[in-house]
């Protein structure tokens, strides 16, 4: 099955060491996305960089405490992305969010399952 639609890509940039209520921020946001029924979310780790605080982030495998740059990407329809933003406002203390308009094509296996495999309420 192939489905084409207009979507938004939202990316959040923060640090690997960032926490939210004692839990890694990246995991908290991914859980929140699932809860809101957003189609998918992926977290990428950068290998070097600096951000809002001008702290240089390194991801050294030899160091125990790491604070590599993290980028979390979410792609979904505009209304779902809009629903996510108020939650991010309270969760992301320091970071950058960028949103762009994208044209999306979703491929799904038609193995007799429901037409919307990703859309149940979380």
């Amino acid at each position: 099955m192939k489905e084409q639609f207009q979507a938004r890509m939202l990316r959040i940039h923060f640090g690997e060491a960032d926490k939210w209520r004692g839990k890694p921020l990246r995991e908290a946001i991914v859980s929140k996305c699932m809860e809101l029924g957003i189609a998918g979310a992926t977290v990428y780790r950068g290998i070097e960089g600096y951000g809002a605080s001008s702290r240089i982030h390194h991801a050294s495998p030899w160091r125990f405490s790491r604070d590599a740059p993290i980028m979390l990407t979410v792609i979904d329809t505009e209304d779902r992305i809009e629903k996510l933003i108020p939650h991010l406002d309270s969760m992301v203390e320091e970071g950058l969010i960028d949103i762009s308009r994208v044209e999306a094509i979703r491929y799904a296996r038609d193995d007799g399952k429901a037409e919307e495999p990703t859309e149940e309420q979380g």
Binding site: M9, V30, M34, G40, T42, V43, T73, I75, I105, P117
Partner: protein, 244 residues
């Protein structure tokens, strides 16, 4: 390059252990001067001294001190100094900065013969499309990893370039959470391929992508590109103006 004549000599005094946003002040200042095109700078290490806090810093054994005084010195034109002084004040933090008028009697010469400049490289600006393909690491196509097959397919279709990224956490079509640690072992990480090229070339690739990707997400977005290239013949990005 600094010429003979009037110039300013700037000295910045900082402490060896001082930090600026987590990095040593001394190296932050040196990097700043280097990347802002200052013609030269020297860091001098003091062996003892005291500063505003009137605490004597010396390298006695008792105090294997990381608070030794450092002096960073450079000579530049007044215009250059004015341009960068503001940021230097911020970088120096509690340290003192002093500026003196000086005269360059003999400018420095580059000691090594300049390396042959790389052949004039080309800078092109234009509009292009970014194509991202989100799939799983364990997806396969004709017996090989799908991401690898896609890279080969793009290469065969002359797509300018593609990079494969592996996610460390996430969920996708199956709503299975892929987690950080387990991911090292599990081959089912989220994979993202990112390619930038002209819209026509990427669209032409779509029928092939349709066949290859059973489950996944492809997104297109408009991007402004700046492309650098060594080869002068390589001007095939449509709707771009080439500048050297």
């Amino acid at each position: 390059m600094l010429k003979a004549g009037k110039a300013l000599k700037v000295s910045i005094y900082v402490s060896e252990g001082a930090k600026h946003h987590g990095a040593p002040v001394c190296s932050s200042i040196l990097d700043f001067l280097f990347y802002r095109g200052v013609s030269g700078a020297t860091v001098l290490k003091g062996i003892a001294g005291f500063g505003a806090d009137h605490h004597m810093h010396s390298s006695s054994i008792v105090e294997i001190s990381d608070r030794m005084p450092l002096k960073i010195e450079f000579i530049e034109t007044p215009e250059k100094v004015n341009e960068i002084l503001g940021k230097l004040e911020e970088l120096a933090g509690t340290g003192i900065i002093d500026v003196q008028e000086t005269t360059v009697a003999k400018p420095a010469r580059v000691s090594k013969p300049q390396k042959a400049l790389p052949a004039e490289h080309l800078r092109m600006e234009g509009k292009a499309k970014l194509m991202q393909i989100h799939i799983g690491e364990s997806d396969r196509w004709k017996g090989k990893p799908l991401y690898q097959a896609l890279v080969e397919a793009m290469r065969a279709n002359d797509i300018a370039g593609v990079t494969v990224y592996r996610g460390i956490l996430g969920y996708g079509a199956h709503r299975r959470m892929h987690k950080d640690k387990a991911m090292r072992l599990s081959p089912d990480a989220s994979i993202m391929l990112s390619a930038v090229d002209s819209e026509e070339k990427l669209r032409a690739l779509l029928p092939l992508v349709d066949q290859m990707v059973e489950e996944g997400l492809v997104v297109f977005s408009d991007v402004d590109i700046i492309k650098y290239s060594y080869r002068a013949q390589d001007v095939d990005v449509p709707s771009t103006e080439a500048r050297s």
